[in-house]
């Protein structure tokens, strides 16, 4: 018996090794085989999270592997980026990457660089806007602008945080003589209540995030930061037509670690493209008041990201002048 055990053990070991070798070989031919983790660098329930859960589910159906969504919030999305970048470049993890995190490349000093990741797709683009409560004394953007010019720094605008894209846009406007007081409310509930309760005069937000309050006529937009008027808001002016060269749309993209094998990048990018083309996703974009042509493939996405980064750097240079 004492002799048999090591022999049996060796045989089992050999069998296991053979098994791993075979499955390993198959694994290299066929991708994906194992679950692919989908990192959301933000808390649950927010826009980035909703996108990942929506798209992840659609990709599960087409790629036939499970795609668990993992929330890794913190440091304006940097924590999630760190999580993505410490892993292998093997296509087994991807991450949502949004405009606020991207802005760190222009404003902050993140531990990661733009060459560390590769975009698979821009999935959603939506313009930001200035909103007021429906019963606000400001009927139009012109009213708001007039008062802001008359009393510089008096009007309070609720924003996400200082140094954010929200704040950058407002500082750009301040440079044009429209000086407001940006008040940071990190918690969305507090941010919305600030204008509904009359504690702030206006709110900087994406229309999709306050959709229910727009539809309920609790809030209305005064100005969109975009180049063209939105189909749903034909009467509301956009920044471009007023001569303000600031758009900085909110975008949500999906990225993988740079160095991921091109074949795997293509499989993931194709799955995202198919998801973006579906009727279900188009309806999701419409519900979010997002640009119906939000989707950009890998090549265009890379150009778009570079363009946005240049725009932000230009904006910062303008502000600091």
């Amino acid at each position: 018996m004492q002799l048999a055990t090591p022999k049996l053990f060796r045989e089992v070991l050999f069998f296991l090794a053979a098994l791993f070798a075979v499955t390993g070989a198959i694994g290299q031919e066929k991708y994906p085989q194992r679950p692919i983790e989908f990192i959301v660098p933000w808390g649950p329930g927010g826009g980035a999270d909703q996108l990942a859960r929506k798209v992840g589910k659609m990709m599960e159906d087409s790629l036939k592997v499970s795609i668990p969504v993992i929330n890794a919030p913190g440091a304006t999305g940097s924590s999630g980026m760190t999580k993505l970048l410490v892993g292998e470049a093997d296509g087994q993890s991807m991450s949502v990457f949004i405009a606020d995190t991207h802005a760190l490349l222009a404003t902050g000093n993140p531990k990661w660089k733009s060459t560390d990741y590769k975009p698979l797709a821009i999935m959603l683009r939506q313009p930001s806007a200035i909103f007021v409560a429906t019963d606000s004394r400001f009927k139009t953007w012109a009213d708001f602008e007039k008062e802001a010019r008359a009393n510089p720094g008096k009007l309070k605008v609720a924003v996400l945080g200082l140094g954010s894209i929200d704040d950058m846009t407002l500082r750009y406007l301040a440079g044009k003589g429209i000086k407001t007081n940006p008040v940071p409310f990190a918690n969305p509930g507090e941010r919305y209540i600030s204008i509904l309760g009359g504690h702030a005069d206006a709110l900087y937000e994406q229309a999709g995030d306050v959709r229910q309050m727009l539809d309920n006529k609790q809030m209305r937009p005064l100005l969109f930061f975009a180049t063209e008027r939105l189909a749903e808001f034909k009467d509301i002016p956009v920044s471009k037509e007023l001569g303000y060269d600031v758009t900085l749309p909110q975008f949500r993209s999906v990225v993988v670690k740079a160095g991921t094998p091109p074949a795997r990048v293509k499989i993931l990018a194709d799955a995202l493209a198919a998801a973006a083309a579906s009727a279900e996703y188009k309806a999701f974009l419409k519900d979010s008041y997002a640009d119906p042509n939000s989707y950009l493939g890998p090549g265009e996405a890379e150009k778009f990201l570079q363009g946005e980064l240049d725009a932000m750097k230009h904006l910062i240079a303008t502000i600091s002048k």
Binding site: G45, K57, N71, L162, P184, I193, L196, A200, Q218
Partner: protein, 504 residues
């Protein structure tokens, strides 16, 4: 009258198979989530959300709300039996709840939480049904200074948590507040005390502090003693012991105070169950009829935090339904479920979706009852766990602490944090520093700082604004009194006699 008709229809539809099934699942899963320390009810609701995609809107929302309510109750078990709070909101239950269990009356302590959760659950739903619309407009009145005042009041409950030494309690609280400042600040994005270490730049999750210092720290203390303390000799006392009506009636003032605190804290966005729980305990300690005995294991100290945290649920649902504004993590997820199903909460929801809204209200009544029935039958087997040798239960506590901490954000460094704070908790315990004020500081610190900074920016550094607004002025003055009285007392009792002796 119309409300009653709607409610009757609502109750009828709760008992449709799909609805009652998702309610049952919600209550059971909510209970499990709450019992696991570190896995918070918010996280539980998030994890459940994808499973509701394929359901209809009504069962989906019923499931999530049932989890939410049950989540404010289930953690009481671990807090009282093992001195490990299942949820942050259960921390105040350690002070009187665990002590009562320590004195050999665990079933009685659990009975009080059961009764309190039952009372608060029914009350909060009733308040929600009757007063949703006026409550919602009340929520709009709060601005940053008021949020700050409420948090500051929550922090003053430190005087209640000191045990023997007020000085040590303050030291502990400031350690907690310091821990809360580590990492990237929310307003300016500046990195603080991170020394370039990525693990610190993320900030220290208060969950890891809580789970480590309480769960692991407690196990380390027992380990040092060689797991020698005898399993509780409960004898025939393992009966679920619900308080009698007469006993409960004696606490009527506590019930009233805590219910009001819970509802109000719920309505204020950003406050929520945890703050409600702390504030309510603090108020009981300052103004309650038994304030001198608080912390020694009396029912008032169990009832006050439990009522407030469960009562806050209804308060939170009000701004969500009436204004479409989520005041907390859990309601943000429920809002997500509404939107995914194409239902938009807002003032019109009572007309456009009356059937669904009243089914939801009715389901909350039923959830409260179901959760209490489940709790009632769980008490007996759970109390038996205390019969097991300490080493075995301790092993499970350690396991649960690590699983819970990892589940919170799937971050391995959090496990190191739990281990680190386990050691800190052990040292605190050994050198007679109370742990609770540190936990209080780490939980409330970030919100206190954020609301203070927002106020300063919003009102251009005019600090007098805190005393110009009625809500913040009242609450802050109460907080100052709460802090001042024990300090003056200590001065009178210790410093003056010492001075006299010195002169003599």
């Amino acid at each position: 009258m119309e409300v009653i008709n709607h409610l009757i229809n609502g109750f009828a539809s709760v008992f449709l198979p799909a609805n009652i099934l998702s309610l049952a699942i919600g209550v059971v899963v909510g209970m499990l989530v709450a019992v696991l320390p570190g896995l918070t009810l918010v996280m539980g609701v998030v994890l459940a959300l994808p499973f509701t995609y394929s359901m209809g809107i009504t069962p989906a929302v019923i499931l999530l709300t049932a989890m939410y309510i049950t989540g404010t109750y289930g953690g009481a078990f671990t807090a009282i039996l093992f001195k490990v709070p299942g949820e942050p909101l259960d921390v105040p239950l350690l002070w009187d709840g665990w002590r009562m269990a320590q004195k050999g009356r665990p079933a009685e302590a659990l009975g009080w939480t059961l009764f309190a959760a039952f009372f608060a659950g029914l009350l909060t739903v009733a308040a929600m049904v009757l007063m949703a619309v006026p409550f919602a407009s009340f929520a709009l009145k709060f601005d940053a200074p008021d949020y700050f005042a409420i948090i500051a009041f929550g922090l003053t409950s430190v005087v209640a948590l000191g045990g023997a030494s007020l000085t040590n309690a303050f030291i502990s609280m400031f350690v907690g507040l310091f821990i809360a400042t580590i990492g990237v600040d929310e307003i300016y994005g500046a990195e603080r005390f991170s020394f370039g270490i990525p693990m610190l730049a993320d900030g220290v999750e208060y969950l890891t502090v809580m789970v480590g210092a309480y769960g692991l720290g407690e196990v380390l203390v027992r380990f040092e003693q060689g797991f020698k303390s005898q399993p509780l000799d409960l004898g025939a006392k393992v009966q679920t012991k619900l308080p009698s009506f007469a006993e409960a009636f004696k606490l009527r003032a506590t019930f009233l105070r805590s219910s009001v605190v819970g509802l109000l804290c719920g309505i204020v966005p950003g406050a929520g169950a945890t703050i409600a729980s702390f504030v309510s305990y603090g108020i009981e300690r300052q103004y309650g009829g038994q304030k001198e005995k608080m912390g020694s294991g009396i029912p008032e100290g169990i009832v006050a935090p439990q009522i407030a945290s469960t009562a806050s649920v209804g308060g939170h649902m009000v701004p969500l339904l009436v204004l479409g504004i989520p005041g907390s993590g859990a309601t943000a997820v429920i809002l997500g479920a509404f939107l995914l199903h194409g239902v938009q909460p807002g003032p019109q929801i009572f007309q456009t979706q009356a059937a669904m809204v009243y089914t939801l209200f009715a389901s909350m009544f039923v959830s409260v009852i179901a959760m209490c029935i489940l709790g009632y039958f769980a008490i007996k087997p759970l109390v038996r766990v205390l019969y097991f040798p300490e080493a075995i239960t301790s092993a499970y506590v350690v396991l649960l602490c690590f699983i819970g901490a990892y589940a919170a954000r799937s971050n391995l460094t959090d496990l190191w944090m739990v281990a680190l704070f386990g050691v800190i908790g052990y040292l605190f315990e050994k050198y007679k520093f109370p742990i609770a004020p540190m936990i209080l500081g780490t939980i409330l610190g970030p919100t206190a700082e954020r609301t203070f900074q927002t106020t300063m920016i919003s009102f251009q550094n005019d600090w007098t604004i805190f005393f110009q607004r009625p809500v913040s002025a009242t609450v802050l003055i109460l907080a100052i009194v709460a802090l001042g009285v024990p300090v003056v007392k200590a001065w009178r009792d210790i410093y003056i006699p010492a001075l006299r002796r010195g002169r003599a």
